[in-house]
Amino acid sequence: MNTTTAAANTQPTRPLWRRLIGFNLLTAVLLGVGGYYLGWFIGHQIKGTSFAYEKKSSESDVALLLAYFFGVIGFLIGLGFANYPLSRLLGRPASLREKESEGWSRYFGLCTDHKVVGMQYLIGIGLFFFIGGLNAMLIRVELLHSTPTVVGPNQYLSLVGMHGTMMMGMMTSGVLGPFANYFVPLMIGARRMAFPRIEALTFWLLMAAGFILVSTIFFGGFPTGWTGYEPLNDQAVMGMDSYIMFFALVGISMTLLGLNMMATIITMRAPGLTWSRLPIFVWSVFATSVLMVLAAPMLVATLLMAALDRTINTSFFISGGGGSSYLFENLFWFFGHPEVYILALPGFGIVLELLPVFTRKPLWGYRLAISGMLGVSLLSFFVWQHHLFVSGINADLRPFYMLSTEIISIPTGFIFLCVMGTLWKARTSFTVPMLFCLAWTFNFLIGGLSGVFLSDAPSDTTTHGSFFSMAHFHYTIMGGLIFAFFAAIYYWIPKMTGVRFNERLAKWHFWLMFLAFNSTFMPLFVVGMEGQPRRVSEYAPNLHGLNTWVSISAFVLGVSMLIFLVNTVYSLVFVRAAAEQNPWRSKSIEWQIPHPVPVNNFEQIPVFDSDPYDYGVPVTAIGGAQPASAGA
């Protein structure tokens, strides 16, 4: 219980049963379940010639989609999200804050404090990340043998699909959710996000979505993997609707999150904080948000089309009715490629933000890094057909997409140059966050170089749809984003909680994770090149040895995650050793604020006069050395 602030809280404590009635998580769950059954009932009442076949079988996509829809509506109403729109409908004045004065229970409901939303995101995404990781462990158990042994084919494909979909859906908000929400207002000298209630909404939409995806196991799972290709999508059993609903909600959450971030960064910067003084992490959030706002709505539209095809028998993607499977591939990847850059860009931002702190040098090539990130953002809309080189779509345009894909590696290379420049003649301390940043560099390098192979259409002919492309995107997304994610956790948890991690366990986590990760995914390049397609539980016997090695490495990777969990529980719950206010001696503004961060972030809005990279001794020398002020 929150003892120190209870005294400051002048509200008399109501009895528990009184406090349970109201707009909170319990009500949300109850209304969600109620809404679910309401939708289910309505879905079964809808009559029409198109639904005749559905009534004959026990499958009813309409009922399930309506059930999910009303369930989510009920859930949000129960949390209290409908109160403000209704009060505005009646003309009551606009307001900003909700439930920021309650105690620990505000973490379990709608709270507009961006710091609370950040913590909620961290726990919520962490939970689903571990569920997705568990799915991955089960996949690798199955792949220990070259024939299906442990699970049936439907369960295997559902595992594969759930793992991929959960990770892609959750980790797009993996950095922006926890860390951007918590720290962007602090870094720009603001007291709040631009639209705090919408911020809370993005979190709860994501939680509802995650729950819906997990529920697919009750409806038969889905056989399409995370890409949801039609017409298999149309053919699939009811579990496919869980996928559709999940991704639609994720898409809405992403759009709103990106919108909020951009509005905040554009309008709420403190005096003196010009664009050229913005921390690079904030720039990366900005570049990511551009993609979120523009690409995610396309996903929502595509999935709505897929849902219509499944329920009322429209013909978007069914060639027998005038549709085309190519349409889905094009629409999906038009979103899908910016999506992977939504995953990669925050990783860039975190690494470039942390490196100056641990190398005690300013960020090298600040403007180059920004142009790299914005260049990646812009170009990511022009490369999507490199996922479709062998599909027969627009085969004549392949040279264009090869060119655009090659060109996008130029701004990506800028990031590497900035990393290397910041490491030059540095005074590096190898703290755990720094280790994760260095690992990021190694992993993303391998991931990026393997991408060069995939972007070459003749070479892609063999590697498309194989474990080579699987290894490529795991190196860039997991080796890139997830390692940066952990760097951010180890770096910022002392600020967010005031508690420090156990150093030894942290180092064990890092080394085991880094070595096991590479041991897992490096052989997969070979496995893919040797002819193993993705998403199969039966593979050629000659690849059995490699697959066994990979599976065992994957289990060790899982163990490293357990070490992290143990460290979290041990350090944050049991030991609770207080961290210094600024253990990393960072010059960034969020570290100059004491812990706990005051309720309104700053006593007075700060005035900025430089970027936060004021490290290092000025270099004055003869013979061509650069003075400190030589910007880039």
Binding site: P93, S95, G103, G258, S315, F316, G321
Partner: protein
């Protein structure tokens, strides 16, 4: 192991705002700028949402898979034993787009009136609101009256779903406009709030209406494009 005195109390993460705490007022232009930026971002997101349908329209029309873009009566009869007309009702479509256009004009008028601080902005705003709802009603009538449904080929699929989602977007925008009207009506009945605080209803109506007018104009243009592509082409 930290000694007991160094241990942080469990749960001392972020202190809640004490009840009755004074939140420092912020200048209203912060909220105003945020609304303005948000309206533009939302417009961008909306464009990309409908871009998927535009792409579907032109792509499916160009491939005319199995002649099922606009299947002939014979083809449909063979499939379902029905004779349908795949042309949308042009008269109702015209009513729909006319209501849209008039609504946008009236709302823009209201926006201009608000900027000039003239009290008479309310009437055109209400007019725009009603016409927007009228446009939705017109299109709904058209859906009932038209002789085809979403299962009748690719054009029918795109037509019905694109317009359906467009109508949802229109209703959401009408809700947004309604909140401005309602806030103004309520504010006129009670004294104004504290000066310069975000809670001050008078202060936030102007930028909010401005943002809503911008977004509605944008959506109106999308509606015009929708009409041209679906009804006229």
């Amino acid at each position: 192991m930290a000694s007991e005195s160094e241990k942080l109390p469990l749960g001392r993460l972020i202190p809640p705002v004490p009840a009755g705490a004074q939140i420092p007022p912020e200048p209203p232009d912060v909220g105003a700028r945020a609304l303005s930026v948000a309206a533009r971002l939302l417009a961008g997101a909306t464009v990309f949402f409908f871009l998927a349908f535009v792409f579907a329209y032109f792509y499916l029309r160009s491939i005319d898979q199995g002649h099922f873009w606009l299947p002939s009566a014979a083809l449909l009869k063979e499939q379902k034993g029905l004779h349908v007309n795949l042309k949308p009702n042009q008269a109702l479509g015209a009513v729909f787009v006319a209501c849209l256009a008039l609504s946008v004009l009236l709302t823009a008028l209201a926006g201009r009136g608000m900027k000039r601080r003239s009290r008479s902005w309310l009437a055109p705003a209400i007019g725009g609101l009603l016409l927007g709802i009228g446009a939705v009603a017109a299109q709904c009538v058209e859906f009932i009256v038209q002789k085809f449904g979403p299962t009748d080929g690719a054009f029918a699929s795109v037509f019905c779903s694109w317009l359906a989602f467009y109508l949802i977007a229109v209703m959401c925008t009408m809700y947004w406009l309604e909140t401005q009207v309602a806030t103004e009506l309520r504010a006129r009945r009670s004294p104004a709030g504290a000066q310069g605080d975000i809670k001050d209803p008078d202060r936030l109506i102007a930028p909010s209406l401005d943002a809503a007018v911008f977004y509605w104009s944008f959506l109106g243009m999308i509606g015009l494009a929708t009409y041209v592509i679906l009804y006229l082409l």
